[in-house]
Chain length 373, copies 2
């Protein structure tokens, strides 16, 4: 049985995307060239960047690695704002390639505020600063716009993981002073996993031409000017073409509002069930809801009960394993999915002994969804 | 309009594969784990290797890079049997990572014979030997079984690019003494591009644990024992599950015979048209037919004419650009595709002034296909 994916990604995928993916178009044809160009134009609008994008056939982690091996040379200083699993991952990658990494380790559940960043940048000169826009491991969102304002005063590159943010929350690479933004196909872009997409500012391109770290498959110079150096992910690119059409048809501003509305309603419903959110409310992300597992219950059991009802949610990662559950509401999410999920959560909790008035809560949620339509 | 892909890859894809790809199953579920395990079991049978496979979310080139950065350390000696674009690519990748590469450059259109390899291995001790099974740039096939017999006497690893060979021609990693075989999803495996699959012998695993080249995304140790360190290509893996079912249902021996039959018939038909094959007949591959462009004609024009008839074929790569055309007949190819392609080729050539008796030739091809069914 096909299940509703209310996880922090991969997410639900519209049928039109799957249908488009099933067109088998060869990459060395005028027809594909045309599609590739159009995908790039639409991506530039969505990323808010004037330069062409680089499309890699890899997961988001491949995109993170590509940004490390292309922007740095051995010994370069990098400040990583580490707010969870993905911040740590970027630091790990950079260290492996000999980058001099300084980690600002943030308590899980919190984000970074401008003053903290400013302090770090006053202490030391960095070639680049890395931040995660939406850290799915903790449910935290950093204010990239504000952090970008700080970074641009210090002549550092600003590298941002927008894997789970793009197509869900406000983003504009050029306006936010982001030099390299790394996205993935399987979140707000409503496609299966397999494409990582990187925007690069002029300063980022300068750094790329100065980098001496060895690379081949991820060498971004080869992907410049929409070049396809190796067989690209044709099927995924066709799917992306369609999902970008859907995004433009709905309007990104409306989509961002929908994410906020769904997030507010899920968080409100969870509160009514007596559940406590994991992240500090100042940094709470709209793309997912991370909740403490109530005492005496097991995350695994909640996830299993929901799965029986055809709903996939996620547990915690790393040190949060077993301690939290995560409900994603990013990408292709309809109001009815929110209702089904909250009903599923309430009844699952009831089944395993955590009593709550699911019917009443779901009724309230339905009313809110209707009122705020 | 959807076109027939008679190229050296990506190839035609059965509808059942696309349908399976459209099931949206999350990778962190028991359901996906089960599928992943079954895919591995079927891959082990197809590769003919006892060890588990590593599945990477990348194109075939990513798989080639993964084998370089995992099997070698800086300064290790590697002998590359370079028969074309893909042999050269492997040498290029290895050099970038500081491997001491010795290239045995073979005249394009020829393969390597055992004595030549033996001579090289008598002269110098190599950590590994690389060969391309089917070099799609030239239409050459190396006899990997015989070359493997040689390599195993010299205590070297044998790395083989089987990207366009697996699922088309006979292969058995363990029996052929191949330590690392790199395949891709978009050829004989009848899926879209995006997965590279690597088989690894026990000796290859030993080398992996001794390698000191930095790597992260492609670090094969993390993929050991069917581990999924990063978001895997869920949709592509589902497609692969289906295509492996199709392969097992038809029987790999029958599929190999079909490739041979189609290849013989296409090559015969081309001869009747007066076209001359590019590769030396001793090394001619069954997966594609590489043909000289007749004097006075343009490769581009032939390809364009065929495209108008809904058939995609390929031109030459590298120094063969403009000099040859390549017709792929690998993976999901029905008899009717062969007829359509030969009819398309004959009429396209007629249109641009290269006269041939297409009707009669196609009739002969139809009869041969029928007779050899």
């Amino acid at each position: 049985m096909e299940k509703l994916l209310m996880t922090p990604g991969p997410t639900n995928i519209p049928n039109d995307v799957f249908n488009k993916m099933s067109l088998n178009i060869h990459h060395r044809t005028d027809e594909f060239d045309e599609i590739y160009k159009n995908v790039n134009i639409k991506l530039k609008r969505l990323f808010g960047c004037k330069n062409d994008l680089a499309l890699l056939l890899s997961s988001g982690t491949g995109g993170l690695e590509a940004s490390v091996v292309n922007l740095f040379s051995k010994g370069d200083k990098l400040l990583v704002l580490n707010c969870g699993v993905f911040g740590k991952r970027f630091a790990d990658i950079a260290r492996i390639y000999g980058v001099d990494v300084h980690e600002k380790i943030v308590e899980w559940g919190k984000g970074v505020i401008e003053d903290e960043l400013r302090q770090e940048l006053e202490k030391e000169k960095y070639k680049a600063v890395y931040a995660t826009y939406s850290e799915t491991s903790t449910g935290v969102k950093n204010d990239i716009k504000k952090l970008g304002q700080v970074v641009k005063n210090y002549d550092s590159l600003f590298i941002v993981d927008i894997v789970s943010a793009l197509g869900c929350v406000e983003f504009n690479a050029d306006e936010f002073s982001v030099d390299a933004a790394i996205a993935g196909s399987q979140k707000g872009l409503m496609c299966p996993p397999g494409l990582s997409i990187i925007s690069l500012s002029d300063s980022a391109w300068d750094a790329i031409y100065n980098s001496t770290i060895p690379k081949f498959y991820f060498d971004l110079k080869k992907y410049k000017d929409l070049n396809m150096p190796y067989t690209p992910g044709t099927s995924l690119i066709l799917g992306l073409d369609e999902s970008l059409n859907i995004i433009e048809h709905n309007g990104i501003d409306n989509i961002i509002k929908r994410h906020k509305r769904h997030s507010d309603i899920v968080k409100y419903g969870c509160k009514l069930m007596g559940l406590k959110e994991f992240p500090d409310s100042r940094f709470n992300s709209e793309i997912l809801t991370a909740l403490y597992v109530p005492e005496g219950l097991s995350a695994k059991e909640i996830i299993k009960e929901m799965s029986k009802q055809g709903i996939v949610i996620a547990g915690g990662q790393g040190k949060l394993k077993g301690k939290i559950i995560r409900i994603g509401h990013m990408g292709y999410v309809k109001d009815e999915y929110i209702i089904k999920t909250m009903k599923g959560l309430g009844t699952s909790l009831n089944t395993i002994g955590y009593k709550n008035d699911t019917d009443n809560i779901v009724k309230q949620i339905e009313n809110m969804l209707e009122a705020q339509k």
